[in-house]
């Protein structure tokens, strides 16, 4: 049992100072910009909540938000079940386990801009392996730079390639913690593979699945580098996700006020959805 001790704050102080420096100062800068208008020369005028209203009403923001939710929804829909299936079919022990784990973790260790370049090279028509195979062998008309649908499918497959392993590793960690006795008992009772999954494996994976879904939600909702390098948000605006749009406004057009207001709305949405996920998925434990 943990004991009450207020001096423990001293242990937390370095972390607090470091994170507060990095989080609070920039956050206050953003809040500052979000309520002011500037015409350059470091002159600022009070704008109130005008930017927030403008952003929330703009079609551009709503479209980017819609694309962002669609993207996150699709990748969760693919990555979570796929991750569970792969984890379930992994061997429990033996020589191949560490080899499998290392190979599966490899995509997560590649810098994000390299992931984008790699998929760009992989999917180029005529030159790339996938582009050549689809266009010249199968005869499917596939060109990421021209067709929005191709671009979308490529961005989704890239994310599945990049991050499904995280779900696999987490689920696998949950699975190996199940004692053999559970399986033996299930065998004696004549349980079907489905009931073994439903009543033994799934409950054991619940904690790690919560972490997996939360992490995947947060990271996919904030995704920037990979789709930006791969498609640049195009063709047109078809793969312009929220972060890409935000950087366009902030660093491309240098509209600091609207960009700051958009940042805060963006952050609030991420926080809210994460909190809802978290409460929903841990509700059963509390009862």
């Amino acid at each position: 049992m943990r004991t009450e001790n207020q001096k423990a704050w001293f242990f937390v102080l370095p972390v607090l100072a470091l994170v507060a420096f990095n989080a609070l100062v920039p956050m206050m800068t953003v809040v500052n910009y979000s309520v002011q208008e500037t015409f350059g020369n470091n002159q600022f005028f009070w704008e109130g909540l005008g930017w927030f209203e403008q952003i929330l009403r703009s079609d551009r923001f709503q479209a980017a938000l819609g694309r962002q939710f669609l993207f996150t929804f699709l990748i969760l829909l693919i990555e979570v079940p796929l991750g569970i299936i792969v984890a379930l079919s992994m061997p429990r022990k033996g020589f191949w386990v560490p080899v499998c784990l290392v190979l599966m973790a490899l995509p997560m260790l590649i810098p994000w801009n390299v992931v984008g370049s790699m998929w760009n090279i992989f999917t180029l028509p005529k030159i790339g392996l996938l582009g050549y195979f689809l266009n010249d062998v199968l005869g499917i008309n596939y060109d990421m730079t021209q067709q929005p649908l191709s671009a979308w499918i490529t961005v989704i497959i890239m994310d599945v390639w990049h991050w499904t392993s995280l779900v696999v590793l987490l689920c696998y960690a949950g699975l190996v913690s199940i004692p053999d006795a559970y399986y033996q008992a299930a065998k004696i009772d004549g349980a079907s593979p489905w009931s073994v999954f439903r009543y033994i494996q799934l409950p054991k994976m619940k904690t790690v699945l919560t972490i997996a879904v939360l992490l995947r939600f947060m990271d996919s909702f904030n995704i920037y580098t990979e789709p930006f390098v791969l498609t640049g948000g195009g063709p047109g605006n078809s793969t312009t996700l929220l972060s890409i749009d935000l950087v366009k406004i902030a660093l491309g057009q240098f509209d600091l006020g609207p960009a700051a207001a958009m940042s805060l709305i963006y952050f609030a949405i991420t926080l809210l959805v994460s909190w809802v996920f978290y409460t929903l998925m841990t509700k059963d434990d509390a009862q």
């Binding site: 049992m1 943990r2 004991t3 009450e4 001790n5 423990a8 242990f11 937390v12 470091l18 994170v19 990095n22 989080a23 100062v25 920039p26 800068t29 792969v86 079919s89 061997p91 499998c100 784990l101 290392v102 973790a105 490899l106 995509p107 260790l109 590649i110 810098p111 994000w112 801009n113 390299v114 790699m118 998929w119 090279i121 992989f122 005529k126 790339g128 392996l129 996938l130 050549y132 392993s165 590793l169 987490l170 696998y172 960690a173 913690s177 919560t210 972490i211 939360l214 947060m218 909702f221 904030n222 580098t225 929220l242 950087v247 660093l251 960009a259 940042s263 952050f267 991420t270 841990t282």
Partner: protein, 265 residues
């Protein structure tokens, strides 16, 4: 049993295909790449790698990246150790709220922080230094390190602490000579994840550097845009960025799965 192992094999094959293509491209000449499709390099060349290893702008990109990643990993783990100890052993005013607040920093999109970070680090004259990138990356690495270490520390019974005090150990001596060796695996896993997230993050690293501490990503972007379309060179540079990660992961292969699983959620 045979049928079941087919799924991991297919999955790994899917993961390896784009990586294979990147590596294959890096051994091709620009002429061969542009002239058409070939599954294997026809005229095998090491020229792309030679360019990278002889041009200082290229290889300094790697060295810069490794330096700030190392500073970040050491810094993150060192400040996270006492904090994780406090969270795992004591209750104190606002501990739950503090823990949640730390985790929310992982939810903030890096794109939001790019511009304010640039202004913040410029104003304290740290712009374009290793320290700037290392400090900026602690924003998301410190919470993660605290989270992982706390999980491992909770697994150590409190009796260990009490026995040490009875034996007359001072706190620092107990922490370093008795407690740390017990959570070696946890420190390894935390360091691995800090390394990983600092190594792959490129948006902040690029924003906070110009010349002196330029990461490999910035060098790659410049090559992709200015020197025409040298795909072979780009592929070779990409291939080299995979190697440090592959080396580090081999060391922690038996613990990676456990790392996240022991978290508090």
């Amino acid at each position: 049993m045979k049928k079941r192992s087919l799924i991991p094999i297919l999955y790994i094959a899917f993961l390896m295909l784009p990586i294979y293509w990147l590596v294959a491209m890096s051994f091709k000449t620009t002429n061969e790449i542009l002239s058409g499709f070939s599954l294997f390099p026809q005229t095998f060349t090491l020229e792309n790698y030679f360019t990278i290893f002889t041009d200082p702008t290229w290889y300094w990109g790697y060295i810069n990246s490794i330096i700030y990643v190392t500073i970040n990993t050491v810094l993150s783990v060192c400040v996270a150790l006492p904090a994780a100890y406090a969270f795992s052993r004591y209750r104190f005013l606002g501990d739950k709220q503090l823990f949640f607040w730390l985790l929310t920093n992982r939810m903030a999109p890096a794109a939001v922080f790019a511009l304010p970070f640039f202004q913040l680090y410029s104003s304290i004259h740290l712009f374009d230094t290793y320290l700037a990138v290392a400090l900026a990356h602690t924003l998301f690495n410190v919470p993660l390190a605290v989270w992982i270490l706390e999980g491992f520390m909770r697994g150590i019974p409190k009796e260990l602490d009490e026995t040490a005090y009875v034996d007359g150990y001072s706190f620092p001596r107990f922490f370093v000579t008795i407690f740390l060796p017990n959570i070696k695996a946890g420190v390894g896993v935390a360091a691995f994840f800090c390394f990983m997230f600092s190594w792959v993050e490129m948006l902040l690293a690029k924003t906070l550097t110009a010349v002196e501490a330029k990461p490999i990503a910035a060098v790659m972007t410049r090559t992709a845009s200015s020197a025409g379309y040298e795909l072979g060179l780009l592929a070779a540079a990409g291939t080299l960025t995979i190697i440090p990660g592959a080396i580090v992961i081999w060391f922690v292969r038996n613990y990676i799965a456990r790392g996240f699983a022991m978290g508090r959620v």
